[in-house]
Point group: C2
Chain length 509, copies 2
């Protein structure tokens, strides 16, 4: 049944939306029209299909508001009668209702939801209903697959030449975990294609993209990325400019207000981006422990299972590596300090952080074996050799050159922040605990990741024996102010928990 309203030409555009009309909210409701409904509207010799939006103030009751986009191209007179007919309610709304009532969604339904989220046809409230619906009945494996596929397909999808497109992903939460910048040059130096995109820090003092940015550009247009991959079979760039699986951002936004991100949903987010990137071989570094995203081994195994299931559905070869984690990997926290750690490993300096090298080699080995470049059990040796022979560093130099940086940078030449403050051991003892969370917070107070040179350098590890007066850590910042703020915070909570050891014990130890 059609309704009749009076045209009102609005003085502004809808801001790049598709054809949209606005109606008084209460009136629209009373006609049974909701936000996002597809309407057929007719007026003198004209007909158009438009999307209904609510307004509280832009039109009066009895009016239908036309944005400039419409009345610039079609003749509309003020107050002219317009008939409206609801063509269809967005199928996405119906699908969300269905899921909320406990039913399972088909691919078409899931796709309609994800697509309408990306195209702003569903707002925050509707997206929230969608997220909440998973509490009525958990997403089935099939639904998780559908969601991943839909999320990947509703964003940009990349294609790189070659049959093997490798990737390595670390699930967040471990300070200084910059293995990516070591793994990529190792495997790429052995011929694996690995177009690596990374994120910037959100909840940590530095993301891989922040750290790589110390050495080269990371915001690189797609066509240039394609050329780089063609030439040197790898890159280390920021993924944020590609709109990979953009639905995820909108979903995470509403998840956040209740501090919910179910772990299966996290797997979907990660995998959707991998699908969009065209990845075929993937190693996932999955740390678990009290202070990281995945708290227990049991949960880690469940996450692993979800990764493996989705990988199988998409025909991706995957290896998920579980590691129990209790302290930072590497010694520097903050973009420049982490970059220095990475360079020290690639340049095989004597004082390189051995934990970063060890973990990177382990992940590179898995990826080499997975991608068929190394026979089972031989990956480790190949990875170590790539480092010690300088091949990996040579590849990193190619990456730095391709991305507009200085390939001759030496780990010790990197500029560090001007202001420093060192902390020394107050007595002989042994490190009982290193407070990862506090390291993160202090690094952020010091200015990381916005100030690239700021951060902390950690000199000691858990279980290490220390002597009175030995350096425990150094704070780096661009102003004394920041150092003072950090010191104030450190008075309330320490980074190191040290147990005192008497001289006797010390000799005995």
């Amino acid at each position: 049944m059609p309704f009749f309203l009076r045209a009102r030409k609005l003085d502004f555009s809808s801001g790049g939306q598709p054809w949209v009309v606005v109606l008084q909210e209460d009136e629209a409701r009373s006609f049974g029209i909701v936000m996002g409904d597809l309407l057929e509207i007719r007026w003198k010799n004209n007909r158009a299909t438009v999307i209904a939006y609510y307004t509280r103030s832009k039109v009066r009751p009895g009016q239908i508001g036309f944005f400039k986009e419409i009345w610039k191209y079609r003749k509309v007179r003020h107050d002219e009668p317009v008939s409206l007919r609801v063509l269809s309610r967005p199928p996405s709304i119906e699908a969300i209702r269905k899921k909320l009532l406990g039913e399972e969604l088909s691919y078409q339904e899931m796709r309609s939801i994800i697509s309408d989220i990306v195209h702003h046809k569903l707002g925050k409230v509707e997206t929230t209903y969608f997220v909440a619906s998973s509490f009525v009945k958990e997403f089935s494996d099939n639904e998780l697959y559908f969601m991943t596929k839909a999320m990947a397909e509703t964003g940009e999808t990349l294609k790189f030449p070659g049959k093997v497109i490798a990737d390595k992903h670390s699930v967040g939460g471990v300070a200084g975990n910059r293995t990516t910048m070591v793994v990529v040059p190792i495997v790429a130096s052995l011929g694996v294609v690995i177009p690596k995109t990374s994120s910037r820090a959100i909840t940590s003092p530095a993301g891989t993209a922040d750290t790589m940015e110390v050495l080269a550009n990371v915001s690189i247009p797609l066509d240039q990325v394609q050329q780089i991959i063609k030439k040197i079979n790898c890159c280390l760039i920021w993924g944020g400019s590609f709109r990979l699986a953009p639905a995820d951002d909108y979903i995470i936004r509403v998840q956040h207000s209740l501090r919910l991100e179910p772990l299966d949903k996290m797997v979907v987010s990660i995998m959707a981006k991998k699908i969009a990137m065209g990845v075929t071989h993937l190693v996932v570094d999955l740390p678990y422990g009290t202070n990281v995203k995945v708290p227990t081994r049991e949960r880690a195994i469940s996450v692993k299972t979800h990764f493996e299931y989705l990988a199988k559905r998409f025909g991706i070869k995957i290896e998920v590596v579980l590691t129990e984690t209790s302290e930072p990997v590497g010694r520097g926290i903050g973009p420049a300090l982490e970059a220095r750690d990475v360079l020290r490993v690639l340049q095989q300096k004597d004082y390189r952080p051995s934990d970063l090298q060890k973990k990177s080699v382990r992940l590179a080995a898995k990826l080499l074996e997975l991608a068929g470049k190394a026979k089972p059990g031989k990956g480790h040796m190949m990875a170590v050799e790539a480092l010690s022979s300088g091949k990996a560093w040579k590849k990193m130099q190619e990456i730095i050159t391709a991305q507009g940086g200085n390939p001759d940078v030496d780990s010790e030449d990197l500029t560090m922040a001007a202001m420093r403050s060192r902390c020394y051991a107050p007595y002989n003892g042994k490190v009982l605990e290193v407070d990862d969370e506090m390291i993160d917070q202090v690094a952020r107070i010091l200015g990381a990741p916005h100030e690239k040179l700021a951060g902390i350098y950690i000199n000691k590890h858990v279980n290490q024996r220390i002597r009175k007066g030995e350096r425990l850590y150094t704070l780096y910042a661009q102003s004394q102010d920041r150092i003072d703020l950090a010191l104030e915070a450190l008075r309330k909570r320490r980074i190191f928990k040290i147990v005192r050891v008497t001289a006797k014990e010390s000799i005995a130890g």
Copy 2:
């Protein structure tokens, strides 16, 4: 653990909010702070408890934004270090999470949610999670009671003198159902206290408040209402200005986008307003049928059970009257036309709509018996007598006078709209169906409820025999334009379905 940020004095006020600070969303997240968290902030010799809000643009990373409300009363320097500590997450957020995970809520928890919705501490997203949580596990009877109580208590609560405060409520959806304006004068004329508040139309061509407004003022300040009740023991006013159970408005807003209002939730909305009004004796008119809110007798019984349960918990005497409904009650649709129907009944005109009188008497009788003014079985007689003796009309005259209208109005003196268009039966026949929904739509196209004089007058009822040329209905509008629009709509869908009857049958019938 405290965080440190730099003060930024914002150039504007928070708009009447309590003390609020704003933080960069990403940064706040990384500190584990979410919207609505209660923070303790400290700066040079100052300490304050504030609520955290997100912003995308008002402050830069590393800054905390102070609204004018704060820095006008406390000394704050630009860029001064401020320490933040999360005191508590809103208990309401925890309660919503709990319900979303399938647990039952206590009164304290429910109250925290409802109160934070009313005070804007929970936004649309959080309110949506709350609404969605009922799909994880339906609200228990206890939870419905808690919600009703919390909704009533977080708004205005009224008190009227006397032990019996009566009320009558019609669950929406039936065109022209103006029984309230007949029931109130009947029962009030017999000594029952009935401070009746009604709503304006939202999804129909006229609400009781719109119709009463044809005869008198309906927006009346509370102190004046109290005086009116004291003097004439009743009123017929608009309830919208009293903020009765205001949480409901916010909840309904998010329910709407998925076109969900579970019926048990509807009962909560109604009862919360009754509790806030201090009602002690309540008759509920609950129509059910294909075109109204409650579609089947089965659902109606379930709604009745919920009403009775809540009434019992609050110590309210209740009677829920079920009626199957297939067509409008009364003959006029639209404020002035409905007011004329009401006056014709109260003034006992020969051509008064008998269905409106019958239904009103039935409801008044129930209320009289419930309130103890009539012995069981005697209510009907008393109600009829109040009408036929003119007592009810006299009471209505008192109401009209008290609310500033003209008490000497005669039903036939009411101004009707200037433009009219009549529809006549095209052949002899019998009315098979009257399309309630179409009547509503046409009345709205004609301008109701905004134009009080517009609407439709229906001459025939379902099952009635009609002769060719007899009047079926009359359209009323303030402009020919509106009439034309309505006629255009009526060409596509008719109000009456008439089955042709041959002359022979006609004689036989």
